[in-house]
């Protein structure tokens, strides 16, 4: 059975560069203030554009989907919308988070989708001028860095600005097409 909203999924065009929050300091007044929600995995701090954050909730049990990838924790009912929850620690290859009610899920809007990111804790809201956002150094051996769009120093902390669309890009977008084909293929 297919649900009418199928088409929505198929219409999404993979476009890693077109992410809603791509930060390009050149396009902005260097004095313009941008706000980020920062959160942590262990000692590492990350942030996403506050405009993308829909809400923040305490971790609660999710429904595991069949054969889901490791860093996918399952799906959550967010007032009637089914939202996939991703484990940020696991996404960064640091093992699975042992989620407890004090862990936090940051619900973000990525393009036309809503997803949840499981983190250890939310720290604060960071206000920075565009001029303070630094580029990520190009490291040849780290190919999987596209999802970090900038770095900010806040006091003595280093915060990596994430592009959530890029981070879970493969999961929510690209595979949509592969899997849709694959599920029809075997007879």
């Amino acid at each position: 059975m297919e649900v009418a909203t199928d088409t929505q999924a198929k219409n999404v065009i993979p476009d890693p560069n077109g992410a809603g929050n791509s930060i390009d300091a050149l396009d902005h007044d260097p004095k313009e203030i941008q706000q980020f929600v920062t959160f942590a995995i262990g000692k590492e701090e990350y942030a996403v554009d506050i405009m993308q954050v829909r809400e923040i909730q305490a971790w609660s049990e999710v429904t595991i989907l069949p054969n889901q990838p490791k860093y996918m924790r399952g799906v959550l009912n967010l007032r009637g919308i089914i939202v996939p929850i991703f484990d940020l620690r696991c996404r960064f290859g640091q093992g699975e988070t042992e989620a407890t009610p004090i862990h936090v899920v940051v619900i973000v809007a990525v393009k036309d989708r809503i997803i949840g990111i499981l983190v250890d804790r939310v720290s604060d809201i960071l206000k920075v001028e565009y001029s303070e956002i630094r580029k990520v150094p190009d490291l040849d051996d780290q190919e999987d860095q596209d999802h970090i769009v900038g770095l900010v120093t806040a006091g003595d902390r280093m915060v990596a600005l994430l592009d959530a669309a890029c981070l879970f890009h493969a999961e929510i977008i690209e595979k949509t097409i592969d899997v849709a084909d694959a599920s029809k293929a075997p007879q």
């Binding site: 059975m1 297919e2 649900v3 009418a4 909203t5 199928d6 929505q8 999924a9 049990e61 999710v62 429904t63 595991i64 989907l65 069949p66 054969n67 889901q68 990838p69 490791k70 924790r73 399952g74 799906v75 959550l76 009912n77 007032r79 009637g80 919308i81 089914i82 939202v83 996939p84 699975e96 989708r113 809503i114 997803i115 999961e171 929510i172 977008i173 595979k175 949509t176 899997v179 849709a180 084909d181 694959a182 599920s183 293929a185 075997p186 007879q187």
Partner: protein, 725 residues
């Protein structure tokens, strides 16, 4: 005209309504209805399409609808008789019209000669009629011929105008002062009022016109422009427009007057002749034509969908509340318990009412079929009567949109393969005219649509032969008549060779069945040789909610659509068998049924692996027959709201959608066909311990042969199992 571009969306929305209106009115016409309002309604619809097409400069569409309208106009007032051929032409013309609207909307270019054949046909009929009454040809191009000699003069010229309004001018609510004001926009005007006709005050009649003017205007405007100022009053005044120095007074008022005057007379006579049957009744028509005035409002579908979604949420919240409070001691709060019961009742009622808003009669689909039958029967030289029954049966809009194609295909199939040519029918002692009956009814919370014909029935020998050729069966296959008949739905049965240009646009019945199944429906055919065939299609009434069985495997809960479930049972150990290739089976009442363990398909940790300790849910599908799904336990049946997983995630193999259970948790809805396919592609289970449960079945019964020659593993396309989370 660009300012009007913003109305295009409105226009196309309106067009689609108008076209569907045309369609249903045409159907009525074809059944021999002689209600004049039917033709009027078609005329009005085409007229509206034409007006918009002109406004948005869809020239092809405008041109075509213009001719179409002309034809309809003559048909409605009886100048052209409404014959069967004529109705046929209207049908074809409305097709072209629809295609042109579609092309205009999508911005596609149509071939230059698209529709030209029909256009020619219409033109010939219209022109043929025009000759006999002679007035029309003039009417269509009133000004064109005369414009040539009123070309724009070079430089400013002076016109002398004498303008003497008659009383009629005021009766038509024209206003000389406004006309003078407009004249002034063309150039310098000298106005000399002439008071010579003004009577004494006592003799003055308020309704009469006494004033007259002489104007001298110096302007660069053409005579045509000057005449246009007086456009509305030429017949209600004495008007003389002279170009200064022009010595031919004959030129005065000429072009407006001469051609129209003649036609006016004719039209006037025409109007008088028709006056009695058009004007008067129409004024009083409001009450008489009850069908025309319906107390309904148009609501944006988005709004209804939002309402449906919200009510879905409400249902979930309500069942959540009920579940939570059922665990509380009810003695303490009888009022709350009663309140919750009422809430449940009202929620259910609200949900039904909201779903009812989206319910539509299948009429909108059924009404398209008469013309399909008409066209096909013409093409095939067969004679057919189409009966429709139950066209007011309602289903959800989501379903309406989906049933048109399958019905079309099945009717095509009946006409093409079922019904015999008239000669054969007579020879077989049947009436020359065949009958196809299209019916709809509600049965058990589903809609059942049947398409029955009184044709020759399925030629089973031919079907068997083809199935054999296609490798769908073997020489030894023992098939019941019913099974043979239903072979027509088997994948790969329909082939290009069989697909005539009638039986579909390269779509076989297997695709039809597949599409119906993807909606949670079923389709089958019953046939009696020599007597006819009957397609039966059942579908859920809505694609928004469904009845499901909640099952559990490990700690996870899933929903199996009730429509798939035959029964559930706990098999005895002895009934469990295994084929050499790993396929597990359960023996039920002497039949072997393949098993697929949900925990195996989905890699669910902690589930019961021994079917003798778990439960087998027997499910049925046209695709694979019966299979047993092994789950831990059944938790109960309930109506669930269908939610998309894909709006925020991606499709999950084996899962068609999801729902939200009473505890607020998401539960996947199983796609049993996909589950069966996955289980077939990974039937080898390495867990040796578990193997012991199943006794090996070395003599493979014939009916299970298809299970042994499955491809060993097509798992490369399937997601790799991951270690459980």
């Amino acid at each position: 005209m660009d300012e009007y571009a913003q109305f295009k969306a409105t226009y196309f929305a309106e067009c689609s309504e108008l076209l569907s209106d045309v369609e249903s009115q045409l159907s009525e016409l074809s059944t021999g209805a002689d209600d004049p309002e039917v033709l009027h309604a078609i005329f009005r619809a085409v007229h509206s399409i034409k007006a918009g097409a002109g406004a948005f400069k869809y020239n092809k569409l405008a041109e075509f609808s213009h001719e179409f309208e002309a034809l309809l106009d003559r048909m409605r007032d009886g100048r052209i008789a409404v014959t069967e051929d004529g109705v046929n032409l209207l049908f074809r013309a409305s097709d072209i019209l629809a295609a042109m609207v579609e092309a205009a909307e999508s911005g596609d270019d149509l071939a230059n000669d698209f529709g030209s054949q029909i256009l020619d046909e219409i033109t010939i009929i219209v022109k043929g009629e025009a000759k006999s009454t002679s007035s029309e040809a003039n009417g269509t191009t009133p000004a064109a011929a005369t414009n040539a000699d009123t070309s724009t003069p070079q430089g400013p010229v002076v016109y002398h105008i004498s303008f003497a309004p008659k009383a009629e001018l005021f009766k038509h609510a024209n206003e000389p002062l406004l006309i003078i004001r407009e004249l002034k926009t063309l150039g310098e005007v000298e106005a000399l009022p002439s008071l010579q006709n003004l009577p004494s005050l006592q003799a003055m009649d308020g309704e009469e016109a006494y004033l007259a003017w002489d104007f001298v205007i110096r302007t660069e405007a053409s005579l045509e422009d000057v005449e246009e100022v007086f456009e509305f009053v030429t017949e209600d005044c004495d008007l003389l427009i002279e170009l200064q120095g022009d010595m031919t007074p004959d030129e005065v008022i000429p072009e407006e007057g001469t051609p129209t005057e003649a036609t006016v007379l004719e039209y006037a006579q025409h109007a008088i002749a028709k006056g009695s049957d058009t004007a008067a009744p129409q004024a009083a028509a409001g009450g008489a034509k009850a069908t025309a005035k319906v107390s309904s409002i148009r609501v944006d579908l988005d709004r209804i969908d939002r309402l449906v979604n919200m009510v879905g949420e409400l249902v979930i919240t309500q069942s959540m509340l009920s579940q939570q409070t059922s665990e509380l001691p009810s003695d303490n709060m009888p009022n709350m318990v009663r309140g919750l019961e009422e809430l449940a009742l009202h929620t259910r009622e609200l949900q039904e009412s909201v779903m009812a808003i989206r319910m539509q009669p299948v009429k909108s689909v059924f009404s398209r079929m008469p013309r399909l039958v008409r066209e096909l029967s013409n093409k095939l030289s067969k004679k057919v009567n189409l009966n429709t029954i139950g066209e007011n049966t309602e289903v959800d809009k989501t379903v309406i949109e989906e049933i048109s194609d399958p019905i079309t295909h099945m009717i095509r199939n009946s006409l093409d393969h079922g019904l015999e040519p008239p000669a054969d029918r007579i020879e077989a002692g049947k009436p020359e005219v065949g009958t196809i009956t299209l019916s709809a009814e509600h049965r058990g919370g589903r809609i059942v649509i049947t398409i029955a014909d009184d044709g020759r029935g399925i030629n089973r020998e031919a079907v068997l032969k083809r199935a054999l050729e296609r490798g769908l069966i073997t020489e030894n296959s023992q098939l019941t008549d019913d099974e043979i008949d239903n072979m027509i739905f088997a994948p790969g049965f329909s082939t290009a060779e069989q697909v005539t240009d009638i039986s579909g646009r390269g779509v076989g019945m297997d695709v039809v069945r597949r599409n119906i199944q993807s909606l949670g429906g079923r389709v089958s055919i019953q046939s009696t040789p020599g007597k006819g065939s009957r397609f039966t299609m059942t579908l859920p009434l809505t694609l928004a909610v469904m009845d499901g069985m909640i099952v559990e495997a490990g700690t996870e809960k899933y929903v199996i659509p009730i429509t798939n479930i035959v029964e559930s049972l706990r098999p005895s150990r002895e009934a469990l068998k295994r084929l050499p290739n790993g396929q597990r089976l359960v023996r039920i009442r002497g039949q072997y049924v393949p098993l697929c363990a949900l925990h195996h398909v989905f890699n669910i940790p902690g589930a019961r692996k021994d079917p003798a300790k778990a439960l087998v849910v027997l499910v049925e599908s046209e695709e694979f027959g019966t299979t047993g799904i092994v789950v831990d336990r059944l938790l109960g049946q309930q109506q669930v709201v269908i939610k998309s997983l894909e709006s925020n995630y991606r499709p999950v193999p084996g899962v068609s959608a999801a729902t939200i259970l009473g505890n607020g948790k998401v539960a996947p809805i199983l796609d049993i066909e996909a589950i069966y396919r996955i289980s077939q592609s990974k039937k080898k289970i390495e867990d040796d311990e578990e193997e012991l449960v199943f006794g090996t079945l070395n003599d493979v019964p014939e009916e299970l042969e298809h299970l042994t020659d499955m491809p060993p593993s097509s798992s490369s396309t399937m997601p790799q199992p991951t270690a459980g989370s």
